[in-house]
Structure formats: C-alpha cells, structure tokens
C-alpha cells in the first residue's frame, strides 16, 4: 500500500489533479451550489458540466499541442487554425448564398472532411518547415498564427459569417446521453490520440526525438516523419476544435475565434506535466490542465473579480501551480520524504488504506 501511495504522489498526474481538486474545493466553499447537478429535459446541468463542456476547445488543442511539445516544438498556429476551420466550414455550408438560411450548399460530411483536410494540411506545412527546412518551431508556426486568421478573413469576406443549418449546431450545442456533444468529441479525440501514441510505438518515437533527435536518428527513427505527423495531428485537432467553437455560436469569427487559445493550450500541456524541452508527455495531464484553466476562469468570474483583474488572478494561480511542479520543489519534496524515513510513509499509506 505504501508503494501505491508513493507511486500515486510521485506520478506526474498527481500534482495537476491536486491543483484541479484545490480549485474545485475553493469553489465549493464559496459557492454552495457549485457541485449540484440537475436533470432538465434529459440534460445534465450544473457548474461542473459547464466547466467540462467549455474547456473542450482548449482541451482538444492541448492534446495536439502535447505531442508537438514532446518533440521539443511548439505550435503557435493552432488558435488561428481553429478560426480558419470555422470560416471554412461555414462558408462551405453557405456556398454562394448571401442570405442566412437553414440549408447547406454541400453534403455535411464533405464539409467536415474538407475543413479537417484544410487544417491538417496547414499542420503538415508547419511540420514540413520544422522537419525538412529546419526552421525553429516558434517561427515556423508563427506564419500560420498570423496568416491563418488572414486566410479566414479572406474566406469570410471579413464579415462574421453565420448559419442556421441545424445539423451543424449539433457539434457544439447538441446533447447525447445527458451530456453535451463536445464532451464526447473531446473524449473521442483523446482516445484516438492516446491509442495512437501509447498502443503503437509512435509515442516512444516522439519521446526519443524530443529527448535526443540525433540519437533517435541513429536508432533508425525517421525523425522528420515523426515531426511532420505531430504537427499534422495538431492541425487536425485545431480543425475539430474550430468546428466545435464555430458551431457553438453558429458563426465564423475570423478575428476573435480561439484568440490566444494556443497559449492556453501550451499552458494546459505544461500544467499537465509535459516539459517544454520535449521528451516525456502526458496526454491525460494536458486534459486536466485544460480543466484547471477553465475551472480557474469560471471561479474568477464567479467571485465577481473585475474582468480587468481576472488575468492577474489567473496568472497568480498559474505561477503557483508551475512552481509546485518545478524541479526545485520536486527535489525539496523528495528530500523531505527521505528525511521522514520509510516508516512514516508506511503509516500514511496504511492510513489511506483504512
């Protein structure tokens, strides 16, 4: 049991789960209704569900971002690609029609496939710049971070394109088995990426490339291909996220959709325990990281913090969480554990078991 307790506390997920738990606990104390979940018309409603639902766009971006960061890169373009996905999908639905209508100009599955193909290609391009031309990831993805929104504006004609096509609204606003559809989409994306990363050798290759690209190459890994794949996955994630986002408001907003989301996605990844220097990655951690960010945002607003100071509070909490995860604090924690001696660890383990 003590072994389990130690494994749990030394796990990468533990500190991020703890952070999430503390933030939620804080909410419970100050807002008694926080945990209540009610069923209305066969739908679950409540603050927790809301946090889960609203964190989905960043969560999906963070899943793609995690793989990119694991290779030692960064994808700054995913926020802009999210906006691009909204613009592409809604403009395809509207076709040449200039008035708002409830029909689609193209079969709906084709709309989704083309949208994802566009953002996937953008991701592939990022990967090409990084892997084949050797451009630094921040610079390479900066291109689409700016150009992505430009392309979105070209497509929408610099207006906020809207649609009333009902099936489209299902993606971001629909319900399934008591829960909002986006939660299922996020779970699906997570499972697919997780399976691909952890049930094939891909995750191992990503980590090898992230830790030591040269040694990975000498071991026969095609690092270029690995890098191109992770950026493509990140692009695809941005596409999915963009569909959910635009469907949520039934509008393609080239300027503001997913603005600064890439930074939230990076933050979620780091909060989840993946190091910016590359190597070991934790997809589950990134999901928790996205939840932390959303829970934090929600609680800040719930406490009537003025919007202009909300970011300060957020920054403060983030600093604390990142500090807890820093090697310095980890070392302190480990040494205090050693000093306490194995006997006490056993005791605490037994305490947990009882």
């Amino acid at each position: 049991m003590s072994g389990l307790a130690r494994r749990m506390t030394s796990s990468k997920l533990f500190s991020s789960l703890l952070a999430l738990f503390v933030i939620l606990l804080f909410n419970v104390f100050l807002n008694p209704g926080f945990l209540s979940i009610t069923i209305v018309n066969g739908h679950l409603f409540g603050q927790l569900i809301d946090i889960l639902n609203r964190s989905v766009p960043v969560m999906i971006l963070a899943i793609g971002m995690t793989l990119v960061i694991a290779t030692g890169g960064t994808d700054l373009s995913c926020g802009a690609l999210l906006a691009l996905a909204g613009a592409v999908s809604i403009s395809l639905i509207r076709g040449s029609s200039t008035i708002l209508n409830a029909d689609t100009a193209m079969p709906f599955p084709a709309v989704i496939v083309i949208t994802l193909a566009v953002t996937g290609l953008c991701g592939l391009w990022n990967g090409f710049l990084v892997a084949k031309l050797g451009i630094q990831p921040i610079v390479a993805t900066l291109i689409f971070m700016t150009a992505g929104r430009g392309m979105a504006q070209l497509i929408t004609g610099a207006r906020n394109l809207t649609t009333n096509y009902a099936p489209y609204s299902v993606i971001g606003q629909g319900w399934l088995l008591l829960l909002p559809v986006p939660i299922f989409i996020a779970a699906g994306v997570f499972l697919i990426v997780w399976y691909f990363a952890r049930r094939t050798a891909f995750g191992l290759f990503v980590e090898a490339v992230g830790v030591n690209p040269s040694a990975a190459r000498y071991s026969g890994i095609n690092s270029g291909l690995v890098i191109m794949i992770v950026y493509t996955v990140s692009g695809l994630c941005a596409g999915v996220s963009g569909l959910i986002y635009a469907s949520g408001i039934m509008c393609a907003d080239a300027n503001n959709a997913g603005l600064n989301y890439e930074l939230d996605a990076i933050l979620a990844t780091v909060l989840g325990g993946t190091s910016m220097t590359g190597g070991r990655f934790y997809l589950g951690g990134s999901v928790i990281g996205a939840l932390i960010i959303m829970a934090l945002t929600k609680s800040i607003y719930a406490f009537d913090v003025a919007p202009e100071s909300a970011l300060v509070v957020k920054a403060f909490v983030v600093v604390i969480v990142v500090l807890i995860q820093s090697p310095f604090f980890k070392a302190r924690l480990a040494s205090s554990r050693v000093r306490r001696g194995p006997g006490e660890i056993k005791n605490s383990g037994a305490g947990e078991a009882s």
């Binding site: 094939t200 050798a201 191992l204 980590e207 090898a208 030591n212 000498y218 071991s219 026969g220």
Partner: protein, 508 residues
C-alpha cells in the same frame, strides 16, 4: 598508503574527511577522505560508479554533502554551488564542454566577469585578454569567432583557459583529455605542470592509465564509493593500481585476444572505391563474417566517416557499397538497420544515449524502429527483451525502468550495445566503443565484441587505442587523411607497424 597526518599542515590546500553522500537508494560516498597538497597533480582513480565524479561534485558544490568536513586552507567550507566554489578558489572543467557554443571564444572565457567600461562591456580589452590567456596554451585563434566554429579539442582548451583565468588555487580536470589528440594532450600537460610549479593543486580524473603515470604525483583510488587508499605514483605500479581499482587480481585486458578466424569467411559487406564529398576518398574494404576488422588512424583520418557510409548517415558520391555481393543504396540509418547493420556511434552522449528515457525504452528503440510504428512490442515483450540483455551484458541497473541518463558511462555503452543486439545484426560497427569508460568495462566490452565475432557477426572496431585494436582485430585497416593507406593481416600485427603506417603512410 599514507595518511593526511604525515603532511605538513601548511602544504594542505584541500582536505575532505569522512565525506558521505547518499542518493535515493545509493550510498555514493562512504566516509571518503581526500587530501590535496599545494603544487601537486593528484589523480583520482576508480571504475565508473566508484564515486570519482560524485566526490568532485561534492567538492565543487554541485551536490551538498550528507556528512563529513571539507577544509580549504585549514578553514571549513561548504560550497553551495559551482560559482560559490569558484569564489572560494576551486575551479573545475568537466568532461563535457560546458560552454555556450553560440558565443564568441572571448565571451566564453570571460562570461560573467567581462571587463567593463562604465555600464558597457569593454570589448577591446576583453578580446585582448582572451588572446593573452590563450597564448599560454599556444593557441592562436580568432577570439571573436563563435566557439562552435572550433574543434572539440580547442573548445576543451578554452574551457580550461576559462577555469584558469579565474585565479584558482585548486583546479579539477574531469576527463579533460578524452577528446584531445596526442599533441594537444602534451600541450595540456605542459600547462598543467607549469600550474603545478606555481603552487596550484590539480585534481586529475582520466581513464588513460598512461596519462596518470605521466602527469600525476599522487593517486587516490576509490571503489564502490569507498576510499581504497592514497599513494605516491612511484610507489604504485600500474598493475597494482588496476587491481585496486577493480578489487581483484586484474589480468582481464591481457586475457583478451582475438578469435582465430576459421577458413571460410564469406564477405558480408564491401566498399569498392567509395568516395564521398568532403568525407573520404577511394576507400575499398571487405568485412567478413566472424571477423573483427580494426580501423586505425588519427582523429579525422576518415574512420568514422567510413562507418557513417556503411550506416547510411553519409552518402557516397562514387564507388559502390555491396551487401553479399549486391550493390545497395543506404540512404538512412533505417535502411542500414533493415539490412542488419548496427552502429555504436563515437559520440555516445550526442548520438546514442537518450537519457530521459528508461533503459528498457533505449534497448527496444532500434528494434522498434525497424519493426515500424504499428508492430509495437507489448510491455511484457519489452521487459523480457530488456531483462535478457541486462543479464547478458551485465548492465548494472536496479531495474529496466531506470533513466539511462542516470547510469555510468560503461553501462550506458552496454545499453547502446544491447539496443543493437536486439535488432540481431550481421554487421556491427563499433566506433570508439571503449572511450570514456573504465578499464573493467573496457575489457567487458572487448570480450563481448569477441563473443559476437565468434557467433559469426562481422565487426568493425574503430579505436584510438592501438593496444585494443591489436588485441582483437583479425585484420586492420589503416587510414590517414581521409583515405585508406594500408591493410594488415593478423599475423605480424603490432602497434609499431601500425604506428609506422600512420606516420609514414607506407602501406605494409
């Protein structure tokens, strides 16, 4: 053996007594005593994991100590960081060059203590002083160019120059010569001697026994974190030193000798007049089953480049590479691995070790790369594979999940070997496989090489240590100036004739 008590007190620069250092699960230093006198070169010897580096890191404040006392000039000190140690007067140069490759040479030497003129860096004086410092080393280079435009050897000298310029009383050199050639080593030793004559105390760590005897006044031997003893160099014959290091009568290296090759040895891989742009010219060779092919030559003679060609890292511009008689194009390491070729690279740290990953992951990596993404070995299969090789090669690790970066150099090298053995290669290219590892592990690696040879593998053994090449090679290729200048059969193979060939370019 002598104790600290018979040294006049004023001669003692640095005295560490009863040093304890405990890492989680490892008692790395057990009440170790160490005394450094004014004006001596003191070699710290021991196998990998004996605690040499740990002791040095305790002395320089990289690690805190868990017990014992460090005295500097009779006063107790507690260095908290390398910077702190430097300010006390203890400077160190580590095996790996810890400088900034993108800064200029001058900036590297003076980083953190640049001469200032008001609020600005006084560049002219900075460069002048850097030039003067390097003059002492007989190095005349443009100090304004970035560090990475110079060879590792020069960078190493610059690292030492940096440590020296800080007016230190104690200088620690941890494996400073592993990337230097003979001339550069001589140059370094000249400097070390002159520093010693100025009254500096120098702690010297190396795995080259000859160098220990050439330069040091005293030798302290550690084994498994414990002090074996301190000796005057002239009182400790080489064989005794090695015995004390490994803790048993040592004649392992001398017992290593080549496998007599059988009669029928078919050629597996051959190069026919292969040239590559800016790499090698007109190299022809054959590697046969069950045979060790030694590669002799100085650094930069084209040995590594030839191996790179056979592993698809470099590409030939003319000539042909043939596998069992058929010409092949090896465009990437992946191609080579698919053709059952394996390669232990020279720069283990840069091209071999994936430090953050576990021993298990490092071992399965090449096999997995050959199998592809979707034929993922299950965790159980991976563990079986890892455990098998950990046992087979005697890799000293608590378990397969230990980070490879935490193992000692010799064990890291064994893990890299295991990585390749797991791919079941027919051709094994070993580039300096014994560099930077201790004598015991060296003998093990060489024995292993011979075992593989006996099993029918074709092995290329590249080494700067002619002694090793002569011991285990069936044939030796001598290279100079990026081309092959000779080939010798095992009969009549000796260091002399190889040296003559390297020096004179006379084909034998």
């Amino acid at each position: 053996m002598e104790g600290a008590h018979d040294i006049p007190r004023e001669d003692i620069l640095l005295e560490a007594s009863g040093i304890d250092k405990i890492f989680p699960g490892v008692h790395a230093l057990k009440r170790v005593n160490f005394t450094l006198r004014r004006g001596e070169v003191h070699s710290l010897m021991g196998e990998n994991g004996a605690g040499k580096s740990t002791l040095v890191k305790c002395l320089t404040g990289v690690y805190g100590i868990d017990g014992g006392i460090i005295k500097y000039l009779g006063r107790e000190i507690r260095p908290e960081s390398p910077q702190h140690a430097i300010s006390i007067g203890i400077s160190s140069v580590y095996q790996e060059v810890n400088l900034c490759p993108n800064l200029s040479v001058a900036e590297n030497i003076f980083a953190g203590r640049q001469p200032m003129r008001g609020p600005f860096v006084d560049w002219r004086s900075l460069e002048e002083r850097a030039g003067k410092v390097l003059e002492r080393f007989d190095i005349s280079i443009d100090v304004r160019r970035s560090l990475d435009s110079y060879s590792i050897a020069i960078q190493q000298m610059i690292a030492i120059a940096r440590a020296l310029d800080i007016s230190a009383r104690v200088l620690i050199l941890d494996e400073p010569t592993s990337s230097l050639d003979k001339l550069e080593v001589e140059k370094l030793f000249r400097i070390v001697r002159s520093l010693r004559d100025d009254g500096m105390g120098i702690i010297f760590i190396t795995h080259f026994l000859d160098q220990v005897y050439e330069i040091s006044d005293r030798i302290t031997v550690l084994r498994n974190g414990e002090l074996v003893g301190s000796y005057r160099t002239e009182d400790l014959p080489k064989i005794d030193l090695v015995t004390k290091m490994v803790g048993k009568d040592f004649d392992e290296l001398s017992s290593v000798s080549r496998v007599r090759a059988g009669e029928a040895r078919d050629v597996i891989i051959s190069l026919e007049e292969v040239s590559a742009y800016q790499s090698v010219e007109n190299v022809s060779l054959e590697m046969r089953r069950g045979e060790v092919l030694g590669f002799a030559g100085l650094l930069g003679s084209g040995r590594t480049e030839t191996a790179n060609l056979m592993f698809g890292i470099e590409h030939n511009s003319s000539g042909a590479i043939k596998l069992r008689g058929t010409a092949v194009k090896l465009s990437s390491p992946k191609d080579a691995i698919r053709n059952r070729i394996a390669f232990c690279p020279e720069d283990r740290k840069r091209d071999g070790v994936i430090g953050e990953l576990s021993v298990r992951e490092n071992i399965v990596l090449a096999l997995q790369a050959r199998l592809g993404i979707f034929k993922y070995r299950t965790l159980r299969q991976q563990n079986e594979l890892a455990d098998r090789y950990i046992k087979l090669l005697g890799i000293a690790t608590p378990d397969a999940e230990k980070k490879l970066g935490d193992l000692s150099g010799g064990n890291q090298q064994k893990v890299i070997l295991a990585r390749w053995l797991a791919t079941e290669p027919e051709v094994m290219l070993l580039d300096e496989p014994t560099r930077g590892i201790d004598v015991g592990a060296k003998a093990e690696i060489m024995k292993l090489t011979l075992d593989l040879c006996r099993e029918g593998m074709a092995i290329a053994f590249i080494s700067s240590e002619l002694d090793e090449i002569v011991r285990i090679s069936n044939r030796v290729i001598v290279m100079r100036d990026r081309t092959k200048i000779g080939e010798m059969e095992e009969d009549g193979l000796d260091q002399e004739s190889i040296l003559r060939a390297i020096a004179g370019g006379v084909a034998v």
